[in-house]
């Protein structure tokens, strides 16, 4: 009727069902969390702030990074800008002359030399007006700026040399001046001068403070003769050949210009890609630093978890003794307290993620300029950080609980 336990089974032991023991531990954890609401809230707060900080900081950094990457995609990565510059505060700005440009164009490291002259002018067609940046460029414009036409064509080298009165208009210009009709072949007024529209540029993403789609491109020759009068280029875009390192090309151009300008550095060569690249690098470092700060707050949260778990072990010493007397193995006790600390951390993690989303949403609603990119990996990472925090900082208290002497634990309180 009453069978003695089979002592031969003692070597094999029995395993507590993992699910049942986790359920039991989770139940105990939930009860102790509910029983001490203030303590639970304070513990959670550390984890919540840590997780939310990680997500918010990395999301904003990632958003900024993506904005720069997008910017690089707009113009390509081998574009440089050349401009006159004062060599010293009193000296006049240097002038980039036509012979400078010809010399640079002869360099094998250079694909295109593209001077630009431009101003904001009033554009008119019929009764419609629009203010736009009217720039004189060469027929190489589409190749230099990676900017093809959406309809019609770009002006030809022939039209460039003839200084023909033809214009390629931006997407926005087309929308405003020719809302309901095909602009190709129509004559519009730029300032007081009539130009024939031969093409429409593809729409491009705008820069923060400049509407790229409100431009009109005309032949440089025409701009100089009919719009602005003889003038030096505002700036020169240089497209470096892909097969040479960009830094090498930059050195070559600098060297040849220095020679032509009699050793006076009255010009500035801006490597657009390099500046974006360095911005990118700075941002990368910044986001790493922000991440580190956020990680520290997570660490502080973890210490809070450890503190509470140590307290919990102390408060429940007798319960641990009871569980041991009723046959709990050390690993059962360990599992119980680890489950509890992980549970606390997970709840904190989930709330932290929600808080981060709320903060990011708020930031986006308040200002359009805040770049935000929520990367699932960051959310998952922050969440698993919380999980790992729970395990790491729950480990010591759990081990302490598991190593209690059953007799002493039962006698406590």
């Amino acid at each position: 009727m009453l069978h003695p336990p089979d002592i031969t089974q003692v070597e094999h032991g029995q395993s507590t069902s993992l699910l049942a023991s986790i359920q039991d531990a989770a139940r105990a954890a939930r009860r102790s969390m509910v029983a001490n609401p203030v303590r639970t809230a304070l513990t959670l707060l550390g984890i919540i702030i840590g997780v939310a900080a990680v997500i918010v900081m990395l999301s904003v950094a990632e958003g900024a990074k993506r904005m720069i990457t997008k910017e690089m995609g707009v113009f390509g990565t081998n574009l440089m800008f050349l401009d006159g510059e004062s060599p010293s505060p009193q000296a006049p700005e240097g002038v980039i002359s036509a012979s400078d440009l010809r010399a640079i164009a002869r360099l094998p490291e250079v694909d295109f030399v593209e001077p630009t002259v431009g101003e904001d002018l009033v554009l008119r067609y019929g009764n419609a007006y629009h203010a736009g940046y009217v720039r004189g460029n060469s027929a190489d414009y589409p190749a230099v700026y990676h900017w093809p036409t959406a309809s019609g064509r770009f002006f030809s080298h022939d039209e460039y040399h003839r200084a023909a009165a033809v214009a390629v208009i931006g997407h926005k210009v087309r929308e405003v001046l020719f809302p309901a009709q095909d602009p190709l072949g129509e004559f519009m007024l730029i300032g007081q001068t009539p130009f024939q529209v031969v093409g429409v540029l593809k729409e491009k993403d705008n820069e923060a403070n400049f509407d790229r789609n409100s431009q009109v491109v005309v032949p440089y020759t025409t701009a100089v003769t009919r719009l602005y009068g003889p003038t030096d280029p505002d700036y020169v875009s240089i497209v470096a050949a892909e097969q040479y390192p960009l830094a090498h090309t930059e050195r070559e151009i600098n060297a040849i210009l220095l020679k032509l300008h009699g050793g006076v550095a009255d010009f500035e060569l801006d490597n657009y890609a390099a500046s974006l690249d360095s911005q990118q690098k700075i941002l990368g470092q910044l986001s790493m630093m922000l991440g580190a700060i956020a990680a520290i707050s997570l660490l502080v949260g973890g210490i809070g978890v450890m503190n509470v778990m140590l307290m919990s072990v102390r408060e429940r010493t007798r319960e641990i003794g009871i569980r041991m007397a009723t046959g709990a193995r050390q690993r059962d006790i360990m599992r119980q307290f680890l489950t509890e600390s992980v549970l606390v951390s997970l709840v904190g993690g989930v709330v932290g993620i929600l808080l981060a989303f709320a903060l990011l949403l708020l930031a986006v609603l308040i200002s359009d300029d805040v770049p935000v990119a929520i990367v699932p990996a960051v959310v998952a990472g922050a969440f698993s950080c919380a999980l790992v925090t729970g395990i790491v900082f729950g480990f010591t208290p759990a081990r302490r609980a598991a190593q209690l002497d059953p007799v002493a634990a039962l006698a406590s309180e």
Binding site: Q14, S15, T326
Partner: protein
């Protein structure tokens, strides 16, 4: 009597000693205290044994050693012929879980858990499936007259009821050997009598009962009385 007196002893103690202190503890050397001195006894399956002694006589220490909560400093403890000294902590836990059921003077129920949950704790560690566990705890509590109070917390139960919950817990995994440490110590006469009745009933059903008490009247209800004084067995 269901006790099979011809069976080989389930528990054999031989020259058990338990000492505390005697080791350097910081700068102080705690005086060495010998709580158990050359205790030898054997208990056969199905026996109802009372261990009686005044407080400080070492009977609680003896119970802790018998129940594998504590290890002796010297001597041999054989459980069903196996030397327990060679068991690791997990194996001792196995014995506590599958061979023993504890009943304590102060019940030792987990305060945050309901009566049924408290009863189920040992089965949880034995890996019993949920349904079987719930069914068994319900049946045990029902048998002990607590079928209506499964979801009560310990503090919502009277002392006698709490002690019955702890008896149900001791029986959860079979309760082959019931170790009862002053089970009636905190109870009024009526509840105490009820608990003793339950123990007698369990003994009649073949459970081995080891009852620890200071009260000769309680001890007299057992078949065999072992008296312990100053860490030695003075009467068996």
């Amino acid at each position: 009597m269901s006790a099979d007196s011809t069976a080989s002893p389930v528990i054999e103690l031989c020259g058990i000693e338990k000492c505390y202190g005697g080791e350097a503890n910081g700068t102080k050397v705690q005086p060495k205290v010998r709580v158990l001195n050359q205790v030898s006894l054997s208990i056969r399956a199905g026996e109802f044994v009372a261990i009686i002694g005044a407080s400080g006589s070492g009977k609680s220490t003896l119970m802790n050693i018998l129940g594998c909560l504590d290890r002796p400093s010297a001597g041999e403890y054989r459980f069903a012929g196996h030397d327990v000294a060679g068991f690791d902590n997990d194996q001792l836990a196995w014995l506590r879980r599958n061979a023993f059921g504890f009943i304590f003077q102060s019940y030792h129920l987990i305060p945050s858990e309901s009566a049924a949950e408290n009863v189920e704790v040992p089965a949880l560690y034995a890996g019993l499936a949920d349904d079987a566990r719930h069914a068994r705890s319900e049946a045990l509590l029902g048998r002990l007259g607590l079928g209506e109070r499964l979801d009560y917390l310990p503090k919502q139960l009277s002392g006698g009821q709490q002690q019955r919950v702890s008896i149900a817990r001791a029986l959860m995994n079979g309760g082959y050997i019931i170790l009862a440490d002053e089970p009636t110590g905190a109870l009024d006469t009526a509840s105490g009598a009820q608990v003793m009745g339950l123990l007698r009933e369990l003994a009649a059903n073949g459970h081995t009962i080891i009852l620890i008490t200071h009260d000769p009247k309680v001890a007299d209800q057992a078949e065999r009385v072992i008296e312990i004084s100053d860490g030695r067995i003075v009467r068996d």
